[in-house]
């Protein structure tokens, strides 16, 4: 299956992937409305980490694991792997117990404290390429066939 990979040396630490992710998962799909006016602002599913003020930075994201630790830990069954291999979370079913946060070795599940729901990458089902990949100005994110690693 296609996965998102991250090229650390190309990452400029601008966080635009996070903005794109939040926007894509908002109601309005408009960044200004999503950030200013929506009651529960989505949390970015990718996480840009920085070191020493940006000397090192990279965007970390879900690996859509072949054997997902998040799925095995989820006590409500909110996390399932679909036929294409995408590891999906049903936020309606999620009870906010954070077992998936405890289990994911990639740190790829986020806590939305306001909604008391976990969220994770869904590879943007409504788009051809995930929003983060399209948004990166320096092509530090690539979407291509590959293993989980």
């Amino acid at each position: 299956m296609k996965r998102i990979y991250s090229i650390e040396d190309a990452c400029i630490g601008c966080h635009l992937c996070e903005v794109a992710c939040i926007t894509e998962h908002s109601r309005s799909k408009d960044p200004v409305r999503a950030f200013l006016h929506e009651a529960v602002r989505p949390i970015s599913r990718c996480t840009v980490e920085e070191w020493e003020g940006g000397v090192v930075s990279l965007s970390t994201n879900c690996r859509h694991c072949d054997e997902p630790d998040c799925l095995r830990a989820c006590i409500s069954g909110a996390i399932q792997k679909d036929e294409a291999g995408v590891v999906r979370m049903d936020v309606e079913q999620c009870i906010g117990c954070w077992s998936c946060v405890m289990a994911c070795p990639y740190g790829a599940v986020q806590r939305n404290l306001k909604a008391k729901k976990a969220n994770k990458c869904d590879l943007c089902p409504d788009r051809e390429n995930p929003a983060c990949v399209d948004a990166c100005p320096n092509r530090a994110l690539v979407y291509k066939e590959g293993s989980q690693k």
Partner: protein, 425 residues
């Protein structure tokens, strides 16, 4: 191939998926004593407290059993395993033959004899959907509850009852609550929060008598002599492996059903997984029960693959718990209460005002335990470091940082996890 699985919870689900990875056509029969499809057992306290509805209890998509061609028999209790004849016997008298058998029966609540308990109506245990439904159904008639046992199940029952505005007292024999998962500091922080929410927590004491008349409870008497008025008692002292029916089968049962790294028991063709099993520990290499949800799934997966003739070894059980009580999230994993002395090094950070705490336990150059209270974000990164035995020397001073992440790890590790180059990518 004819697979029979006893129990229909998370270990069974892991096993069904494990079998189907290898064998698409073999017959799978699942026998369950309970009258429900697989459900999120830990959700019963949420059901009691009213934060989830019955509709959310089923653990699997509706078509799971059909898609995986599983013959699910509910209300079917196994009373004996006749290993010589390769069949199991049900309470109804019916026998069911198997080629490969999985024992995934979990635990039964342990209820010690307590003076005055016999004949009392409102004495409950709290491990099943039906237990929660029963308590909820009688809630109108409950005011004051004593919960015996301050482990995970006791605390979760207490939280659910308190959400229904019941007055709850927890009585715990040890010197702190959740002594299995928490260290002293984390236990104290959570106890403080429980008390702030009106729950009484009594430690180093236990219930010696249930007082009352006829079927009514008027209170309990503690070992210390104290009397606590109540009308309901929840017994949550612990669970024991549900393995009584294995008597006479030849399967070795110690503190649980003893299994090897393929989850096979002492009798060839009979496997076991989940809370009922006693498998290898990640750190010690010795065998012990590991009664947690994620491990039950993983053991089920290994068992299923082994039963279908595939090869997969168990990596060893790693204790991990994510427990949120009264909005204080906590995550603990690995060795959280290390013995004092030279062997372990402990790093801590604490801010009690904000209910925040973090503890890191190191053994030589390896991470072996973590406790997080308050900010639990990305805790799984630590789980990965423990499992992969990553040497921590290069980033040790960052382990307590609130934003600890992959940037602190050596670049090779980051690249191997996230970068596009590499053989398969």
């Amino acid at each position: 191939m004819n697979y029979v699985i006893i129990g229909n919870s998370v270990a069974a689900v892991g096993a069904i998926r494990g079998i189907r990875k290898i064998d698409a056509t073999g017959h799978i029969t699942v026998l369950s004593r309970e009258n429900h499809v697989a459900y999120g057992r830990p959700l019963i306290s949420y059901l009691l407290g009213g934060t989830v509805t019955e509709k959310r209890m089923p653990y699997l998509p509706e078509d799971f059993y059909r898609k995986n061609q599983v013959n699910l028999l509910l209300g079917a209790e196994v009373v004996a395993v006749e290993s010589g004849a390769s069949r199991v016997k049900l309470a109804s008298g019916e026998t069911i033959p198997y080629d490969k058998l999985l024992v995934a029966t979990g635990g039964d609540p342990f209820v010690p004899p307590i003076e005055g308990m016999n004949g009392k109506e409102k004495v409950f245990t709290f491990t099943t959907w039906d237990d929660a439904a029963k308590l909820k159904g009688l809630a109108y008639d409950i005011d004051k509850v004593v919960v015996i046992g301050g482990g995970l199940i006791g605390l979760k029952a207490a939280e659910g009852l308190s959400q229904l505005d019941k007055q709850v007292t927890i009585v715990e024999l040890a010197d702190r609550i959740l002594s299995a998962a928490f260290d002293r500091t984390a236990g104290r922080i959570v106890a403080k929060k429980m008390k702030a929410n009106g729950i009484e927590v009594l430690t180093e004491d236990t219930v010696v008598r249930i007082d009352g008349e006829g079927s009514e409870i008027t209170g309990v008497t503690l070992k210390s002599g104290e009397f606590i008025a109540c009308d309901t008692v929840v017994v949550a002292i612990g669970v024991r492996p549900a393995a009584g029916f294995l008597k006479g089968s030849g399967v070795e049962v110690n503190r649980g059903v003893v299994v090897d790294d393929r989850m096979e028991t002492s009798v060839a063709g009979i496997f076991s997984a989940g809370d009922v099993a006693e498998a290898r520990d990640f750190f010690s290499g010795g065998k012990n029960p590991m009664p947690i949800w994620p491990d039950a799934y993983i053991q089920g997966d290994v068992a299923g693959i082994s039963m279908a003739g595939g090869q997969k070894d168990y990596q060893g059980g790693l204790a991990m718990n994510s427990i949120e009580l009264f909005k204080v999230p906590t995550i603990s994993m690995g060795i959280t209460n290390p013995e004092l002395g030279e062997r372990y090094q402990v790093l801590t950070y604490q801010n009690p005002e904000k209910y925040e705490y973090r503890k890191i336990v190191l053994e030589n150059d390896l991470l072996v335990g973590v406790v997080m209270v308050g900010n639990v974000d990305r805790a799984g990164i630590f789980a990965g470091i423990i499992r992969d035995k990553v040497a921590v020397a290069p980033f040790k001073e960052h382990l307590l940082a609130p934003d600890f992440g992959f940037v602190h790890l050596p670049k090779e590790i980051r690249s191997s996890l996230f970068a596009p180059q590499g053989k398969a990518a």
